[in-house]
Symmetry: C2
DNA sequence: AGCGGCGTTGTCATCGATGTCAAGGCAGCG
DNA sequence: CGCTGCCTTGACATCGATGACAACGCCGCT
């Protein structure tokens, strides 16, 4: 029994050529049933398994897809990874994962390169880099689907949430509940989704005629601990916020324990992304919910379609988000009275119209050119 | 400019053989500095990247490690995955991930096989299968490190937490706080860690002279929702538990919202594994904490060492766990008085001795033969 | 001058699969 | 019987890298 059984070993036992064994293994029609049965017996007897590395080299492409995310431990990306892996597995593809970290966006191109030299059939990338020109050459032979944001400098398939709109909805929700000092808590600005959510925050402020106060913007939190410290500073300022838009799960995991631990559950919170126990806390946390599993699956499907039809036009899929009111986002600022905010003179639209506008934003999924 | 630059292309430009280019790429000493510089220039000019699939085929092993876990979305495994990927990346290795799911332990061997045919250099496996004999042959060429439990039927490297001891500590903690109706909430019994934690639970009961009541054992929860339903049944029974040992994070994510949502925060809880917000809830959740990052890193290091020394003896690394009292596990049962439990006549050891005993369990890490 | 040793370089086989295309066998038709 | 077409099979090159080892040149020593 040789250490590794090859086509040749099977060919000897079955008294055919290795090519015929290959035909049987790959379901090629050009084999007689008699020969086929004989080869199958030999395959079973020897426990033959094709060497997929050899096949990949010959074919020029591995049956593996690459996934690049910021962090595999991040709950959002963990669930996205899981969805991608499951979709790939259903197609007989393996998944090679790689993380970029949150310190050096330029690592993205190195990480992607390390997947390309392994001949991955395709890539799903949650981008952090400023410029995706590095992918221009590779994309002729390796399809790429971007998740969470559009690439810069190239046209590619993508699966997105509208971060700007979501940031605007989250912030608008707080403003609609009377808050005039709304803070933004976010990760590094080199993270494109942070920038978009911040832009949405600012657009909501502007839309309500509120001045943007940069002392209410705390970005750069690379961990839950840093988010916690940043929130502490926000709340300890001269004119502290009465509400906080926490622009990703990681920041929320720093902010919420702080508020609960320091008895500041009076501060209104909208969290971008749901997280465990958010609805069990008192008050339960209002969230912008977008499902990483939906994103992961959509990205994988998009990639499979691209593999089948390399020359089709690039397509962007926008997946829906929704605001889930649970309590923390509906808290009123100190001194505010119940009911519609009477100070709001710039926008006479009734509340129900605004709710509908939000529902429109929250439900809309579709295609973006 | 050819589509793909090979050693041969570089060799032509540099006027050397492909073998010399290979020597330069691999840092072989047998190249003159003059030749080396000339080749480097050609490499840069052509943008050459070695084809790692070709190398893998020739060498007989890919520079990829495989990781097999139950679910990539599970927070515990997500963090373990992240730690493994980072450790691998530091070594220039890629990571191929695969999930088994929680329904069919036998899928493990199929999943492992799909990694083996891709010539992974080594495997890290969080096992679910009943028998690891399927790995006996492969292990001669592909090192395996098991995480979380020892394999069945083969001797292999492993990185473990002592699930039985941890289950015993968790349950003992509840008993020490006066509970006599302690329930066990767990996943499927085909999951070996569930079985060990249940055994620990039973051992704690026995140690305190308490009869095991099977109506207090709820296993089979495949999701947080199912855990929630199981907990509902436990609490709705004729003689409901006053305390619950939730034997994994997933069960806790079902149980804790139930308790909070139904006003049953009087039920004492110890959760195996920490989770986000556990310490922000009221009462904060007492947990058995073991760090998946420590496990992941230890597993990766063990695998790297195995790759360097394939013939060394198998080794098991036991990583520490600790009980983190936060409130939920220290709740007293209804009608209990404060202070030491006067009903405990079988064990006259004072509380401080027992605390020390637990600290001993919680701190101990080391090697197991 | 001749020999031996050492360092560098190159040739060629190898890894294990698949693609390309020729060859052989058989059936049908004139 | 000879020719043509179709189907099956096999030979051999290919994928792109590395391992094994021979060949060559140079230097130092006798």
């Amino acid at each position: 029994m040789p250490e590794r059984v090859t086509l040749r070993d099977v060919a000897v036992v079955a008294d055919v050529s290795a090519k015929t064994v290959s035909r049987v293994v790959n379901g090629d029609a050009h084999v007689t049933p008699t020969t086929r049965a004989r080869v199958q017996r030999a395959i079973t007897e020897l426990g033959f398994q094709p060497n997929l590395v050899a096949r990949s080299l010959r074919v020029g492409r591995a049956d593996v897809i690459g996934l690049v995310v910021e962090s595999l431990a991040d709950p959002f990306f963990a669930r996205l990874t899981s969805a991608v892996e499951q979709a790939a597995h259903e197609r007989g593809l393996a998944v090679m994962v790689s993380s970029v970290g949150n310190q050096v966006p330029e690592r993205e191109s190195l990480v992607v390169e390390s997947l390309l030299v392994r001949q991955v059939a395709g890539l799903i990338v949650a981008p952090m880099a400023q410029d995706h020109g590095y992918l221009a050459g590779a994309r002729q032979r390796t399809p790429v689907v971007f998740v969470d944001r559009l690439p810069e400098g190239i046209v590619s398939d993508a699966v997105l949430v509208d971060d700007l709109a979501a940031g605007e909805v989250a912030t608008g929700h707080l403003i609609d509940h009377g808050h005039r000092r709304v803070a933004f808590l976010g990760s590094e600005l080199r993270n494109p989704t942070t920038r978009l959510r911040l832009a949405g925050y600012r657009r909501a402020l502007a839309r309500h005629g509120l001045d943007a106060d940069e002392s209410l913007v705390a970005v750069g939190a690379g961990s839950a601990g840093e988010a916690r410290s940043a929130a502490e500073q926000l709340l300890g300022g001269e004119r502290p916020p009465t509400a906080i838009f926490s622009s990703n799960m990681r920041c929320s995991l720093g902010l919420v324990p702080l508020l609960h631990g320091s008895g500041r559950t009076d501060v209104a919170v909208v969290s971008f992304d749901d997280f465990p126990m958010a609805d069990s806390l008192v008050p339960a946390v209002t969230v912008i919910d977008h499902d990483p599993e939906v994103i992961g699956r959509a990205a994988a499907e998009r990639l499979f379609r691209r593999l089948e039809d390399p020359d089709a036009d690039a397509e962007t899929v926008v997946v829906p988000f929704r605001l889930v009111p649970r309590g923390s986002g509906e808290l009123r600022p100190p001194g505010a009275t119940a009911g519609p905010d009477r100070e709001r003179v710039q926008d006479p639209v009734p509340d129900d119209d605004r709710e509908q506008d939000m529902a429109h934003h929250g439900v809309e999924g579709g295609r973006r050119p």
